[in-house]
Symmetry: D2
């Protein structure tokens, strides 16, 4: 349970970090969309470990293979299964950890919940489950781009206590962001972040950070009233990512400090519809997109597995010293950028299909 | 679409602020639970407007009536329909607003999404839809209390820029909280908040705030890996509430500033299982409850409808001046406290049923 | 659980025969559909007991009341709650049955499943739950009629061993059918059926029967591959009706006797698309509508509650004599006609919305 | 859409007959179940083509590979992905058919629904999608067997107009059934059936048939009221199988001919609970299992693709002669036996988990 996301565009993930493969089945993608592995691979590669010294040295190729749902280069409207083989399994890395649950990791809760423990400790609580998300998101992005020109761009807005200055959300691009090793588009901040991460690595520690994401060219009308408001499903999507501790959109937590007269987004004529002068609503009003940029920030805790000794307890409650030995990032946010984009794309795709079902005339497609 | 919440304990809400009634159908409640209107009414009354000068003067009785699913005082295991009649409908209050969409409200997006507009503007985007949530939550709380002794307590932790000091999450109770008009358990802060709200009302403005919630006596093992992590579904639940801009649990956004060696919760023996020395995980690790207190904070924006004139645009794009005339709270957080508790209860109930399905032996019931 | 039907057009039923009300919440109906109680009442009245001497003498008005989801005469796109009060509750009628589970009724299984028993015995296993179906179906029919000109007509094709001759499925209408007290459009057969039912009633017994249903003007492309084939969801819908023992569509069980060369429906040009010369496929190929008439037959067992003494066992296993005293039809098929139509309409509506979501261009709307 | 089955035990199928692989993801299987490919392979092999001269000569090994969800020989409680490579792809077999839609096949409806056509014609409408069903069913059977001792056995009860006599449902076993090439347990009937099939093959034709299935050792209380009655979900499951035209359980269509006094199943004391003297209810009353054997019959039409010339129309409506050339069974029922068993197992497993969620005490496990 809990391994599927989306009501009409449904992505079901599978795979543990040390099972033969990880992957996803995507059901609900419309037919006739040109698709090959080349559409998926770039985002997979962006989230892949071992890209540089700031990320874990696991060097999987993460080459995706499409097993079903396409024919002669286009989607058939049937389920698309994508897999990535786990070619670099080293269960030994984890073996040493088995005697005690790793602090702030999923070992203890998985064991209690399921009554069995995976060799790798946390079962599905592995960074590799992200592959399913990226597969689901990359395809969604492609469809949303072709239909609406929708663009989804995320970047690292803080690492530890280092915050990047605000960016121009209308122009920020993945190309710009990827010029930074840590995916922070502000060069000086990026350098400071990388130095902090490097120092953190040297002290065998880890550090948290934040990612901000903007969604541009969103049609008005996406999102469902009450329990499936657009922001609610985005929040679920983001909090489903490993290590996430918080989500805010538009004015966010700071919005709770403000008065209505300051906070309200006044309407103005924009082309042949209405827009808003400001965008504290973050592009969503009453749970439904209003056509302005959607933007939100996601907070990630520091990686739980660290190379520093920790005094903790084993499963029997005896005090033990634990030192993490696995291959782990000192800071996950750089690699998490495509995961945030992917989850956002899956949400938007599902909502677009649902709006088509009840009011297709409300959606304008790209010429 | 979007009006149901929960997979096994499913609450479906219905009703607009000016339709004959609002209510909920709860499907999935186990049979044999003693239930009457008296179990639901207290939380409904807590969220009811018109309780004091700090809330809107609409004086509905909000008396709930159970239409189905119980017999001789116990639940039958069949759907429970609960309704509250809208006895105090005054569509005239809203009529003046029709010519222009209210800023930062749902009027514009609802009209664009659905192609029609409700008399009251935002259709389901009405504070009265909360009644369904409270019905669903009150019943869930009752079951969770009897099974596990679970307790859910929320309070106002900030209004505008006024923050309450930390509370003892192990002992804080609804009784203590309700001693404050604004439901802030720290007396001096409560007074300052009330003064701020009063001043805000006088200036025909509104103000945001935050609610913190703790869930105690949570069995280990609730929550589903990957897309339905406990924190993810809680986030969806909270962001589905009107006016919510952000959600964080455990160390939250501040956790993203920290290092792993500082942030990690080390295990210690507690009774015949493990607990953690600290609780920055907020009671959830890997998406699954670990038995510690679950706690989280929800940010609410200032009420969108204010009595101050705003220069905005009508549906045709012409600039117009708009002054809100409806009956609206200057600050919603006090009344939102039972809504936060209710949504939390619905999430926990659904997760408890799901865990029973796959591993009933993992759950220990109260003696 | 199990009280909702449909993925996008979702009907949630509630109510026991002796609770204050029965009803339904319909979520997913598009906005802007003209709707009032008058659209629902006719089908409700058709299924109402007490219409003539062949049906149970319970004389409820079954007047439906819409509690939400409409405004100024049109749907808002929000959940529509409809209720019918149970004005004629006579729990005493059932009281005598409590000591022993009625044979072939739901008393025993409900008690074992839920651990409690409703006063009326079978809880939701009451003919009155059909009201939810009729509400959901009447609205669906209205939408399908306006979009596609779709027509759904069911009739009694057999009572006991009396079979009606084949009818012209292209022209048969509800008006014709309702000219018969038992809703069999062939007059002589109708008379024989009524005589059989009358004799059955006199001998304090009951009798089974069959209903055939045709759906006309169906757009090509409705139904989902594999698990949600159109016939599969129709089968679920029909078998969900009380007392149903079987379902067949197109050539049905007889089709299993045939050879491929005889059974296959050859394609021919029809207007600007393809049709089939014969229609043993019953309008569905590969789980998807092909534009021909959809037709199917549903078998109903004889009413379980009869006025004749039966030697059975009480809950403790002691042999007891049981004589049914409640108000029950000797033959349910006449009243079940609108229920079959309603379930069919709900299925078609859900499938139409789903097809719009993925390929709106495939559907042609009525000029 | 439509490629997942089950609410808690969810099987998602994927794969076309000529894509690289077909398979399934099973989410919701409890943890700790011993599982290897050897548990799945036998049923896969039973449904495999090329087993004898009565089935299609495609000689795939159909060797299943588990990609995820198990570790050290037991399930982890996480999604189990199983795939079977399509090693024997011969698209050329199908190429000749492309110009015209095969009569009574899915080519036309798939093309109209999706707007694209798979090389193999009907996309997911391929016998190979059954592999997902068999994977899902084999695992479910294993769990149900270990929990309740549940047994599911299906057999061919008719081919064309040849009907097998009734069997003893309490003792019939897969071993007995597999002694017959056509899986009919009555030897003389089996021989007649095989002769009929052989003659049908010689005349380049096909023939329909029926499968009957019994489920033994069913706990009382499985099935959900109203829309998800046990028989309703079984009906959906069976009608989702390719070529199925009808479903009946218990007394079935013949039950509609009977009177209540003859049809009713009277209760008698059985061990420490109640059973019924007769079993016209087919083990289900009010949609819920009553502990007696569940049995039902499924009707299959003759295979649509035949080697005899048929005058039909191409996509433009021109009359063309079509002769099927692919590899197809003249009669599918023998191979469909494990598919019926598998779908039944998936239904029972899902219902067992759901009952555990709401009333675990109602289920008695095998000592």
């Amino acid at each position: 349970m809990g391994n599927s996301f989306g009501k009409l565009y449904t992505v079901t993930g599978f795979g543990e970090s040390h099972s033969p493969a990880v992957g996803a089945v995507i059901d609900g993608c419309p037919a006739g969309i040109p698709l090959s592995e080349l559409d998926i691979q770039p985002q997979l590669t962006r989230r892949r470990p071992g890209q540089n010294k700031y990320t874990t040295p696991r060097n999987e190729a993460d080459a995706v293979r499409i097993l079903s749902g396409i024919d002669r280069g286009v989607t058939l409207g049937t389920p698309i299964c994508l897999i990535v083989e786990n070619t670099n399994q080293k269960p030994g890395d984890y073996a040493e950890m088995v005697p005690a649950p790793r602090p702030s990791h999923a070992d203890f809760t998985y064991k209690e919940k399921f009554g069995v423990a995976a060799s790798s400790g946390g079962g599905r609580a592995s960074a590799r489950e992200a592959i399913a998300r990226v597969c689901g998101g990359a395809l969604a992005e492609k469809v949303l781009g072709s239909w609406f020109g929708m663009e989804i761009v995320a970047w690292v807005s803080s690492v530890g206590t280092i915050d990047a200055p605000a960016v121009d959300m209308n122009t920020i691009s993945r190309e710009t962001i990827d010029e930074s090793m840590i995916r922070c588009p502000h060069q000086k901040t990026s350098e400071a972040m990388l130095e902090l991460i490097n120092n953190t690595r040297k002290s065998a520690d880890s550090i948290g950070g934040r990612i901000t994401c903007v969604i541009r060219h969103v049609p008005v009308g996406l999102g469902q009233p009450v329990f499936e408001k657009l922001e609610a499903v985005l929040a679920q999507a983001m909090l489903s990512l490993p290590a996430v501790k918080g989500f805010e959109f538009g004015s966010g937590f700071e919005g709770s400090r403000m008065t209505g007269s300051t906070h309200n987004d006044l309407f103005v004529k924009k082309d042949d519809t209405l827009g808003t002068k400001t965008n504290r609503s973050g592009g969503i009003q009453g749970g439904i997109s209003n056509g302005e940029n959607i933007y939100f920030t996601v907070a990630f805790k520091p990686t739980a597995t660290i190379g520093t000794a920790q005094m903790t307890a084993d499963y029997e409650g005896n005090e033990v010293e634990l030192i993490g030995k696995g291959r782990h990032d000192p800071c996950v946010v750089g690699r998490a950028v495509p995961m945030v984009e992917s989850m956002a794309a899956m949400v938007m795709m599902d909502m677009a299909l649902r709006q088509r079902a009840v009011n297709p005339a409300s959606l304008t497609y790209k010429a």
